[in-house]
């Protein structure tokens, strides 16, 4: 057990599984000697060599498309896309090919592979680097879309993802890469990401998020507690599939809910959660479900990002309103 940040937890997971399973190989831009632009693969090239930690040409479609072929050959590729916004270059490969291979072949071919990509804002990256586009993949039935919020989950969910028979898009919180720290066991363990995680218990309202929004929600919950409002905070962990039972239970127990995410409001994944809850928990809801999200606008250049991001203040304000509404 040691204290790690999310990046260290991810690196630890990759190294652990590569040592345990020869079939695991990494591919991506600048992940070799350089160790990745965020150092997620630092040291792995030295340890496992260039045949297992592979620098790829600058072509996201080929990274994903060839990873699918590598998976079919019997390997377990873990592909890095430098920023989730550039997974759009491989959208056709991810959504039409990777996600559907099992279904298309009626079970003969499984695309057992992981696509890792950081996403989200707050660290002053250039245009398109901060786009929270996870929801654009959440309709790709056949793909799993997951997003850890803390180092413990990062390691355990990544190990689970690599061992998963289905393809997993593993969305990493760029913002928390170095700033979010926590205890991480040094042994191998998996986290069952199919279950939403109640990270805080409270009776008055339920805050729901994933990735770095969970941390915003937790800080909002602390602020609300000083006002006497006790919040449950749920980390959904997985967008696709969604743990419907888990979130319904968490909202039924409070009757009130605020969802937090970085993507714009319209067609963000908060819509799916709100729509599901508004139906399944209809008779328990005592106030409208609110969504605190990025505004309906492209992610801005760095100088305006703090205005764009859904902050603790906005979550607190929405939660206060929701807790009081009836």
């Amino acid at each position: 057990m040691s204290v790690m940040n999310i990046l260290e937890a991810i690196r630890d997971a990759l190294g652990t599984e590569m040592a345990a399973d020869d079939r695991v190989i990494l591919l991506g831009q600048d992940i070799g000697k350089f160790g990745g632009i965020f150092r997620a693969t630092d040291g792995l090239y030295a340890q496992f060599g260039g045949e297992r930690v592979i620098d790829m040409p600058l072509a996201e479609g080929a990274i994903i498309g060839s990873a699918l072929g590598l998976a079919l050959s019997g390997l377990r590729p873990v592909a890095e896309i430098q920023f989730l916004g550039f997974a759009r270059q491989a959208f056709h490969q991810i959504v039409s090919q990777v996600a559907r291979m099992r279904h298309r072949s009626r079970g003969r071919f499984a695309a057992s592979m992981v696509i890792r990509a950081p996403f989200g804002g707050g660290v002053r990256t250039p245009e398109l680097h901060s786009d929270a586009v996870e929801c654009q993949f959440a309709q790709a039935q056949g793909l799993k879309v997951i997003a850890p919020s803390n180092p413990y989950d990062a390691k355990g969910m990544l190990l689970a993802a690599i061992r998963d028979p289905d393809p997993v898009l593993f969305c990493e919180p760029l913002h928390g890469y170095r700033s979010i720290k926590g205890d991480v066991p040094s042994s191998a363990y998996t986290v069952d990401f199919s279950k939403a995680n109640v990270v805080r218990q409270g009776n008055d309202i339920t805050l729901i998020g994933w990735s770095s929004a969970v941390n915003v929600a937790l800080r909002a919950a602390e602020a609300l507690a000083t006002e006497g409002i006790e919040a449950t905070v749920v980390d959904i962990r997985s967008l696709l599939p969604l743990d419907v039972g888990g979130i319904v239970a968490a909202v039924e127990s409070t009757g009130r809910c605020v969802i937090v995410h970085e993507a714009p409001l319209t067609a963000g994944f908060g819509a799916e959660i709100a729509a599901t809850l508004a139906r399944e928990a209809f008779y328990s809801l005592q106030a409208p479900i609110e969504r605190v999200t990025g505004p309906d606008a492209p992610y801005p250049l760095a100088g305006a990002e703090q205005m764009y991001l859904p902050g603790v203040d906005r979550v607190v304000a929405a939660a206060r309103r929701t807790a009081q509404g009836q």
């Binding site: 190989i25 045949e51 592979i54 790829m56 040409p57 072509a59 479609g61 080929a62 994903i64 498309g65 060839s66 990873a67 699918l68 072929g69 590598l70 998976a71 079919l72 050959s73 019997g74 390997l75 590729p77 056709h92 490969q93 039409s96 090919q97 291979m101 099992r102 279904h103 298309r104 072949s105 009626r106 079970g107 003969r108 071919f109 499984a110 039935q141 056949g142 799993k144 028979p165 289905d166 599939p241 969604l242 743990d243 419907v244 039972g245 599901t276 139906r279 399944e280």
Partner: protein, 369 residues
């Protein structure tokens, strides 16, 4: 300007002539001096596959017109290109990654004809490829299969196998970004993959001349770090020989080859298309003269291995094979609601299970939850 700049890579001159071994009249190129790369027995087997393909195109088209079969893309005119390339592989270790117009290659590699029929009848069971058959599923999304083939070839090699992967695609497919990304990666990692480009003159109604201004597709290969070859795609022997050479090179660790097989689609893009809107009859006729099947029959007839009675017997056998496959496909039970969900993931998700229950008990269950 005082100092003229010379382009080291000028675009000029005529396109190169394709490799050819068998002339239209069935004689060997350059006279009888050279030994053909296939013996008579091999050519007879190849001919059988080519004729099966042609007969299937006829049968499938007529059934489709009667509403008894789905829309599919005929191989007609490209039989030498498809069969010659497929026969250069070893089905016990090599893989084929298809587009959608390569029926005889798939059959030769082990796909039951019945699966192909089920697939183009729209039955979900048609997607299944039997265990042990080294084929990826038919690809509908143009060019998307190319990076898969590279990854598969590279991965097999990383695991120490001596397998080669041949990927089929069209002149149209060559314009997609996936083509470029796949070729470039294959060059970098020296994947044992053969890019087999069937230049059949058309992408639906779009002529080759509108697809690219390049004189040939094959000349793109050195720009990815490997060799390019242009073959007469209606010449079984040339296609076979060029593919064999590429297989041997790949197997020996020499990396990829791009083969441009110059052939011609002797009909519609698929059974929903009407090529009379855009193909001139004279051009079609000139290609009918170069029919790849006739060429092989002429050669074998000159060797005394082909005549009308052998032909009639083969036709009869082929026709029975095809009828049996259609009958078997028709006997498969229609798809159920479960077929919609199964194999999306290794296991049904909670939501899928709930939706499936709703299908099974529509009156009582809630809507998709």
């Amino acid at each position: 300007m005082s100092t003229p700049v010379i382009s080291q890579f000028p675009y000029r001159g005529d396109p190169v002539a394709p490799v050819r071994l068998l002339e239209v009249d069935g004689t060997l190129t350059g006279g009888g001096g050279s030994v053909p790369p296939m013996d008579d027995e091999q050519m007879l087997s190849a001919l059988w596959l080519m004729m099966l393909s042609r007969a299937f195109d006829d049968k499938g088209t007529s059934l489709q017109r009667q509403g008894r079969f789905g829309t599919f893309s005929a191989v007609r005119g490209q039989e030498a290109s498809v069969v010659g390339s497929a026969l250069a592989l070893d089905p016990a270790r090599d893989w084929i990654v298809p587009q959608y117009r390569e029926l005889p290659a798939l059959v030769n590699h082990g796909l039951p004809l019945e699966s192909f029929i089920l697939y183009f009848s729209g039955h979900p069971a048609g997607g299944y490829i039997p265990e042990g058959v080294r084929l990826l599923p038919i690809q509908i999304s143009i060019a998307a299969q190319l990076p898969h083939a590279v990854g598969l070839a590279w991965g097999l090699r990383l695991q120490g196998l001596d397998a080669v992967v041949l990927v089929y695609f069209g002149d149209g497919a060559s314009s997609e970004g996936d083509f470029h990304e796949a070729c470039n990666l294959a060059g970098v990692v020296k994947a044992p993959v053969i890019f087999f480009l069937q230049n059949n003159g058309w992408a639906i109604s779009t002529p080759r001349s509108r697809q690219t201004a390049a004189r040939t597709f094959a000349e793109r290969a050195p720009g990815y770090g490997f060799d390019g070859v242009v073959v007469d795609g209606n010449d079984l022997l040339a296609v076979y020989a060029a593919t064999r050479a590429a297989v041997e090179r790949a197997r020996a660790g020499g990396g990829p080859t791009l083969i441009e097989s110059q052939t011609y689609r002797l009909g519609a893009h698929n059974t929903a298309d009407d090529p009379t809107r855009y193909v001139a009859e004279e051009v079609l006729d000139s290609w009918r003269d170069r029919d790849p099947i006739l060429r092989v029959q002429r050669y074998l007839a000159a060797c005394g291995r082909w005549n009308e009675s052998i032909a009639a017997k083969a036709q009869e056998e082929i026709s029975q094979t095809i009828d049996a496959a259609f009958a078997a496909a028709r006997a498969v039970a229609p798809p159920t609601a479960e077929d919609l969900f199964l194999h999306t993931y290794a296991e049904l998700t909670e939501r899928q299970a709930r939706q499936l229950r709703e299908y099974e008990m529509p009156a009582t269950g809630p809507a998709n939850g």
